[in-house]
Amino acid sequence: MTAIDLGLPGIGGLDGVPTTDEKQTAKSYKSDQEVRWCPGCGDYAVLAAVQSFMPTLGLKRENVVFVSGIGCSSRFPYYMDTYGVHSIHGRAPAFATGLAVSRPDLSVWVVTGDGDALSIGGNHLIHSLRRNVNLKILLFNNRIYGLTKGQYSPTSETGKITKSTPMGSLDNPFNPVSLALGAEASFVARAIDSDRKQLTDVLAQAAAHRGTALVEIYQNCPIFNDGAFEVLKEPGERERRIIPLRHGEPIRFGGGDDGGEYGVVRDQATGSLQVRKVTEVGEAALVVHDASLSDPSYAFALSRLTDSSLAHTVTGVFRSVDRPTYDDEARAQVRQAKQAKPADLQSLLNGKDTWTVVR
């Protein structure tokens, strides 16, 4: 459950955050607040996964901050016994950016939803990805507005019948992974609420990554969009739909002992990726997954294998590359300025041109 060693230089996502030898358990991260999501909500599974995962990082609990926006998932910080802020709709990445820039000793996590991150907060999301601030963004995607009781969201499939779209929604949905890669995110991954093992693995890699890590988590809303991801959970269906990514391994899936009936191959003419039967194309033709490619077009091509029908869904880490983070660089500028020039306030106020009046 350690992060993949991509053999790249640089510092880890948690460097500078104080650690502790004190034994922590999932319980250490449970606050005294009663959890108030609807029975059966996918958020419970994610909360449990995060609470179990956090102790493995060995961080001082007081140096962990969860920041959220507005929506069902954004209640998340109240349930974590860390520092937490439930901010306003869509703005969590902005708030977290100011916090991360000024406090390198904190591990800052953003919890957001498909409406919060991709509708009202779309601008802040793409800009935090572009800047590569050291934030971990968990995007709970249930393809519906839950807290406002069931309107379609920017990830709802076209034609969605909801309270606000009785004749079907008209908009084309976002693919959050494609969007993040378009913004040149340095770390992009996808997981499913019901797959604790993979979710935990992805969280570990996100935590170890220095820069903005976007983790899309498919999450079931049992009240307004129940079963949205059911086909990805049913035995027999999930094997031929989920395409799990493993760095350095051929992309192959479909169940069975031989590694899977299907594989992903590159169309040499267009560069796009396709799902083919391994028996037809041969093992050697399968694409070997490399999350460390600096050109995001490969990861983008991978992301296009997922569409809203969920015929296929790629999970795991699409992209994990090292590039400078905004917060590290901003602090470096301040350090550099301090070294170059002493903080002499009187001299600043005096400026260059003064005159003196004597009585």
């Binding site: 606050s31 100011g98 301040v334 300025a337």
Partner: protein, 630 residues
Amino acid sequence: MSVDLGNDASSGDTEVRKLDRVVIRFAGDSGDGMQLTGDRFTSEAAAFGNDLATQPNFPAEIRAPQGTLPGVSSFQLHFADYDILTPGDRPDVLVAMNPAALKANVADLAAGGILIVNTDEFTKRNLTKVGYEANPLEGDSLSQYQVHEVAMATLTQGALAETGLGKKDAERCKNMFALGLLSWMYHRPTEGTERFLREKFAKKPDLAEANILAFRSGWNYGETTEAFAVTYEVAPAKLAAGTYRQITGNTALAYGIVAAGQQSKLPVVLGTYPITPASDILHELSKHKNFGVTTFQAEDEIAGIGAALGAAYGGALGITTTSGPGIALKSETIGLAVMTELPLIVIDVQRGGPSTGLPTKTEQADLLQAMFGRNGEAPVPIVAPCSPADCFGVVLEATRIALTYRTPVMILSDGAIANGSEPWLIPDISELPDISVTFATEPNAPDGSSEFWPYLRDPDTLARPWAVPGTAGLEHRIGGLEKADGKGSISYDPDNHDKMVRLRAAKIAGITVPDVVVDDPSGEASVLAIGWGSTFGPIGAAARRVRAKGMKVATAHLRHLNPLPGNLGDVLRRYERVVIPEMNLGQLAMILRATYLVDAISYTKVAGLPFKAEELQGVFTDIIEGGGAR
């Protein structure tokens, strides 16, 4: 004063007249460098020891079509041998670099005033462009002024003929020619300008020398031609003893922010988005990272304040700067800061509104937005500087309030203050207030348990503890949802909400602010003129004029708009008539009438320009003589 400019000409025949004050306006095309020219003349006046006040006026377009009325840019400077309060109502001297500048400004020139015109631009084409059917220099339409026609472009090109500079580049130095001529007329020191030009063009020494040459030619032109029979002297002003510098409002705000960081011992994080007329605060602050200042140019106004609030949550001094349209976008986050009770400084450099309005013009119509422009009962303290130099102290005062009471504080500056400049008595930093804060470090539950209650208030200030992440044992969650009194967990309890709304209101109402001071030299005035923000200068100047005529008027100025000074009600009730001049439709008047039930007279103007002292003199006189406001 003698200036050795390396020529032998003598000005012995020129009469020297002594003046107590002069108002000069430089006007030209946006590309003519009028702001720079005005700025340099200001520095010369400052270096000489005059009191001064300036007022730039420029279009929102970076380069409107050349030679047109919308493209006119001007810079007005008032300098004197005594303490002045405004940039002056109307110029005594107008320098017009083209027909558009003449047309846009000549009506403001005082009768008998000096008009210096760059004749090279008075071509048929340029005249037609601004609707002059005949050349105004040829008829008698300007006969009430002392007109000096100077072919500035030709003379500058001539002077630079041997520098090897192209004709066009040489022509562009004509603003320095104008500056040289005016510097000669008013016996200004020149060393500063020459040094400035050498520094400005350090990487292009030939341009530096060309500009200096143009500047000297302007000076020599005045000295050697007989066109100018009179020069003028304005003696240094008798200001309070101390060391001064010239400062604009935006620079003073930036320095105030740096000082607030130092005096509070907190790192400063500015989260902002460029907007006229506030961007210069960002530009200035970004140069002072050595003071532990981080400047973050965000993707939008909302992210700017969001980052500032996030930094404040982490224990930094969070600041955001903007103008009215930006405040509209930041409102929801200001509300979050009210709810989470975190310190935050929000600077609104007001401009003409509504909507995009008049980006480069001044107005003070955001007062009610600052007071009430949020959903719910969301009180925010408001402090307003009255002049460019006052901005420095206002930031320290706003920071004191924000840190002591854990609240967002709004600073309302405006376009006239932001870009205007005046002498500033530089404070001794050892005398600046200590505004350092202490973070919570221990659990505080009244029941003696090891819990931390984030909303347990200080009984005196009603402020809640500021517990920053990284403090063991104080882990807590805050946010925009209503909090249970004390414990701070989410609460939808009706009585609790009522209590919390009142507690938040009481906290702001209970902020200690100094009493308002009344200026009434006679002690017998029955009329009080009260204002806020940049109307301080015109109100004070008008009061002086009224008093000089033997009438009595009291003045008072509000630096704190929320909460209002404790003695204000008594002060207002002490006068028979109260008049409130404002550059809006009566926003302070509405607040004072509602708060104190005083029948105040509201005098308003929303022209994008400051009040003239003459105008307010008339208003005050009418009221003193028994009339109402016009």
